[in-house]
Amino acid sequence: MSPEMKGFILVSVIKLLVIFTALLVGVALLTLMERKVAGWMQNRPGPNRVGPFGILQPAADGIKNFIKEETSPAGASTALFMLAPAFSFVPAMMLLAVIPLAAPLPLTFDFTLPLIGRVVHDGLLPISIADLPIGFLFVLAIGSIGVYGIALAGWSSNSKYSLLGGLRGAAQMISYEVAMGLSLIPVLLLTGNVSFSEIITKQQAGLWFVGPLFISFFIFLVAGFAETNRLPFDLPEAESELVAGYHSEYSSMKFSMFMIAEFAHIVTISAMVATLFFGGWDIPFTTWDEQGGLAQTIATHVAFFLKMFFWIFFVMWIRWTLPRFRYDQLMSLGWKVLLPLALAYIMVTAGALWGIERGFGWTTPREQGFALLGLNVVLGYLVFFILDRGRVVRGVGSAGRPVSVAGEG
């Protein structure tokens, strides 16, 4: 093995350890944050007993879950019952591996380690575990594996509540994945690439995509909520109907795995929104962050973290604002509103891009960005005017006709 290869593996292992450790600790703290935010929004202080301001609450929860009894329901399909938490946990973790967390770090070293030998690294080090050229295709592919965790957990538990939760989860995630995938096509059209680092570069050169592709952003955000099974789309675990949905029968650490997976999904979706539509690690109104260096890497990571953190907070904010959808409302929103909207938006964007390039001859990202921004202001107004009046969302509101009860005796 060449010294360069060894250097690559060494930095990759270090990145793996650092990022996954940070993610797991962050997820633990997010459970606390969620309870704190929930408390604050209900004029309560939230957990404040374990440690200062309740900061050790996640640790207490973790210890509790570790020492609790593992139960296995009678008639459960044991192998799948054991596998299901892993199926939902692992993809959730994997998703964050491809998202660039900061500007690439110029890193040069050349030294000899005992047992390993000479390790060399030269050039830019991307601050993501793997800077995959297939970027978000990977995210879409791995993200859809998460549905197996929920479906298998529901089926293998041998419980009606779990089964219903699992079925709902599977149906919901597959439905919204369609809209989610389609909402990203305009991003592809505008970048001409699927790798995250290219998408960020394009946004640095032009505008953050939230402006030029506002409808995409909106669809992606709504579909992202559904993908994470968060309120208002948490029907798979609707506790008022299904006890706890697909994880009714799980206890101790296996239940914890589902919790970690859910929060890891929130992190991923927030990171995706920040990366795809808010410039990733880009610091706006300056080109200083693109020069490369340790200070730039740290500063851009702070910028990325703040963006991601806002969207994490946004997810919790929505949770304590909106009530849960009814199941048919959920399905009609996904299939009758978001999917046609995403399809139409692809066509409009593609047509507009063609017109902008051929008709006006604007080819730089900035010109295209501003042209699409203008288009989106108009489109956004129209779409939200129609959505807001419930003309498209008839199914979501109500079919409208009072049911005739006269002949039913």
Partner: protein, 168 residues
């Protein structure tokens, strides 16, 4: 659809979804910065604007006379009126002909805390009290005998006074 259920037609055309959501979000955000209403319970048990009601009906208490004997004369009215049948009374009589309870037990688990025993008592002996912290490690500790009922020191409930219906 169940028979006879009236289904309201919603004004779908006038309903605003986006604005309603944004309004709701503004509301929840505003609440994050409002004063907390939580009482830090074990340390703080009452505040300026909240105290446990004087009409609270909690753990029973048997009042005693100056010699430390219970006021109960074992008339049998409280077990008679008790709707939950949680009072066990075995009357006794001393040489002077005074009746007193040989056994007086209240099962706090069965009790529904209606306060009838206090209302019916002619001697003002048994009372429900303004007290709610009675956790124990075993179930039989919830059967309070005469000695334990007499040893309670919490204030007794004022019950409902028809002349002062709002407790002012």
């Amino acid at each position: 659809m169940a028979i006879g259920v009236k289904v309201m037609e919603r004004p779908t055309g006038d309903v605003s979804y986006i604005r309603a959501t944004l309004k709701g979000m503004a509301l929840t955000f505003k609440h994050m910065f409002q004063a907390r209403v939580t009482l830090q319970y074990p340390e703080v048990r009452s505040s300026d604007d909240w105290r446990i009601a004087t009409r609270w009906r909690g753990t029973h208490r048997m009042l005693t006379d100056e010699q430390g004997r219970s006021k109960c004369v074992a008339c049998g009215l409280c077990p008679q009126i008790c709707p939950a049948n949680c009072i066990k009374l075995v009357p006794g009589e001393d040489e002077a002909g005074n009746r007193y309870p040989l056994i007086y037990e209240i099962d706090e688990f069965r009790c529904v805390f209606c306060g009838y025993c206090q209302e019916v008592c002619p001697e003002e002996a048994i009372h429900v009290g303004v007290h709610y912290e009675n956790a124990e490690y075993s179930r039989d500790r919830f059967v309070y005998d005469l000695e334990r009922l007499s040893a309670q020191v919490h204030p007794v409930s004022t019950l409902w006074d028809p002349t002062d219906p709002r407790g002012e």
